[in-house]
């Protein structure tokens, strides 16, 4: 398929179609990317406070001839796996594990690569008791001034604060059919119109597609997917994303850290639109 046909096909997809593709169970997930793109992955477990959350995975690996810290939300491809992974909805322990690994990356001067793929942060009673709000806030804070390069790649669903907790980065990449949203479309429709069945309308209104977010200057790169979506040809999708991550990592690794931190500050500081009377 040449570029033109691909583009035409892509233009016909509605935002709601893309939500379905972003959620497709056979879409490659974080551990698939790590397995295909990295060597010598050593998974590190636990937050050293309460437990180990299977909804976020992380550890050391070799990527593009260097050691990196890879961290990502982990969904399952079937029900059994999804039960274990809590459908990629992290508990406070998951974010606190991510913070621990990020601080460790800083300690050893290792770049961080985050894979973002979560419907939302876990909204259960136990997560509230253990400080879900604090856990997400701490993750954001750690990433704002972490003294190593950070790349975030949205590979499926970027849902709400739970996604942002792994997305404060020097470069944010999104696959063409991935989504990034202030809330899951069902929740947004429920908040706005008291009807979660209006999710397709919310998906359109929220401007949650990669193309929309690129035009809004929220993300830095839209990575093409194979025709029909990443689940149609996982290997092709993984390779395409790997190439782009490598290119961005090469670029930002050249930047002196104080400059990079200033750029990261500015990148987020300018987000927002308002009028001045």
């Amino acid at each position: 398929m040449d570029e033109t046909t691909k583009l035409t096909e892509a233009q016909e997809l509605t935002p709601w179609d893309r939500v379905q593709m972003a959620r497709h169970p056979l879409r490659p997930h974080t551990l698939d990317y790590i397995a295909a793109l990295c060597e010598d992955f050593v998974e590190l477990h636990g937050d050293r406070r309460f437990g180990d959350d299977a909804a976020i995975v992380g550890g050391l690996a070799t990527f593009a001839e260097r050691t990196v810290m890879v961290i990502g939300h982990q969904k399952g491809s079937d029900t059994r796996e999804n039960m274990k992974r809590n459908f990629g909805m992290s508990h406070p322990e998951g974010y606190r594990k991510a913070q621990r690994l990020m601080r460790q990356a800083e300690k050893f001067g290792i770049s961080v690569i985050c894979f973002v793929d979560t419907p939302a942060a876990d909204p259960k009673k136990e997560s509230e008791e253990r400080g879900q709000g604090n856990a997400i806030a701490e993750s954001i804070l750690v990433m704002t001034n972490l003294r190593v390069p950070i790349i975030a790649a949205v590979i499926g669903e970027g849902g709400s604060g739970g996604a942002l907790a792994l997305s404060v980065a020097d470069r944010i990449l999104m696959q063409e059919n991935a989504i990034f949203s202030v809330a899951p479309p069902e929740a947004a429709a429920s908040i706005l119109w008291h009807d979660s069945a209006k999710a397709p309308d919310a998906a359109r209104a929220l401007k949650l597609t990669a193309r929309d977010l690129y035009e809004l200057h929220i993300i830095d790169d839209v990575v093409p997917e194979p025709g029909g979506g990443a689940h149609q040809s996982p290997q092709e999708a993984i390779t395409a994303l790997g190439t782009r991550i490598r290119a961005h990592l090469d670029t930002i690794s050249q930047i002196e850290i104080a400059t990079l931190l200033n750029q990261r500050y500015q990148k987020y500081r300018v987000i927002g639109q308002y009028a001045e009377a």
């Binding site: 001067g109 909204p123 009673k125 709000g133 806030a137 209104a205 809004l216 690794s253 927002g272």
Partner: protein, 278 residues
């Protein structure tokens, strides 16, 4: 003349309620106050408003099935007399200067959008420039849905701006008032240097209705109250409204009376910057 307390259902004489800082004299319930009413927490006449000229827009051209975002904004502006949900300025508490932001729940649930994020970021940067503490008074339903990911990103933006305050060694004191949820709970107030909450304030990340109806979990009485947050180690203290001035004034004095200058955490910055990344 008479106001009915939402908690105990008793009728209270309005003047008596105002004199009691809108705390029910019968049951101690802390009623909600507008952002403007919160200014009374400061020393009389010390408040100067800042960034009042920042106005909301409709960055997504939000296609609503009901009332448009623009219509909602106009209604909220008329109801509250505020351009958006956050009021910002500088003032004094017990003679100590500080920067202040207050959310107004009557303005679209004090949801955090572009104007909220920009005003708060400017307040943090201003406090850093002036070398004064920042007090944030927080109530919110979360990120403003009508501004999509732009609203979500305000969580990162204000957290960024607050690092400037940390850099100059000035404290961020967060007061959480009823109710405070979602993206606001999951960002700057939850990582403040001191977190204070009013008695009985509802504070959490996920809303109770979501937990009960979607996750189908039974919630105990007192779940997600200020007292619950204190018990679980998430906040420093629960302080009654009539004690807030004294508590915050004391904290500002304590943080301000250091004998040693603040040193940055990384004295080998240049050295680290020179090491190439792996």
């Amino acid at each position: 003349m008479w106001v009915k307390c939402n908690a105990c259902r008793e009728l209270v004489y309005k003047k008596e309620l105002t004199d009691n800082l809108k705390v029910c004299p019968k049951c101690g319930h802390h009623m909600r106050m507008s952002a403007r009413e919160w200014i009374d927490l400061l020393d009389g006449g010390s408040f100067s408003e800042m960034d009042a000229h920042l106005l909301p827009t409709d960055p997504l051209g939000f296609v609503s099935l009901g009332e448009s975002y623009a219509e909602k904004l106009v209604k909220s502006q008329q109801r509250t007399g505020m351009p958006d949900a956050l009021l910002s300025g500088v003032g004094m508490i017990c003679g100590g200067r500080l920067a202040l932001t207050v959310g107004d729940f009557a303005f679209m649930g004090s949801s955090m959008g572009s104007v909220y994020g920009e005003k708060l970021s400017r307040a943090a940067e201003r406090a850093a420039d002036m070398g004064i503490p920042l007090l944030t008074i927080n109530t919110s339903g979360g990120a403003r849905q009508q501004e999509g990911v732009i609203a979500l990103m305000q969580m990162a933006k204000v957290t960024m701006a607050l690092t400037r305050l940390a850099d100059v060694g000035q404290p961020h004191i967060a007061l959480m008032i009823d109710p405070c949820y979602g993206g606001v709970t999951a960002s700057y107030p939850s990582v403040a240097d001191v977190i204070i909450a009013e008695p009985g304030a509802n504070i959490g990340f996920a809303g109770k209705r979501l937990i009960e109806q979607i996750m189908r979990q039974k919630l105990p009485a007192g779940f997600q109250t200020a007292e619950f947050m204190l018990e679980h180690g998430m906040i420093d203290m629960v302080v009654e409204r009539n004690q807030l001035r004294d508590t915050i004034g004391r904290l500002i004095r304590l943080y301000g009376a250091r004998r040693r200058p603040v040193t940055r955490r990384d004295p080998v910055e240049e050295l680290i910057g020179a090491i190439p990344y792996m």
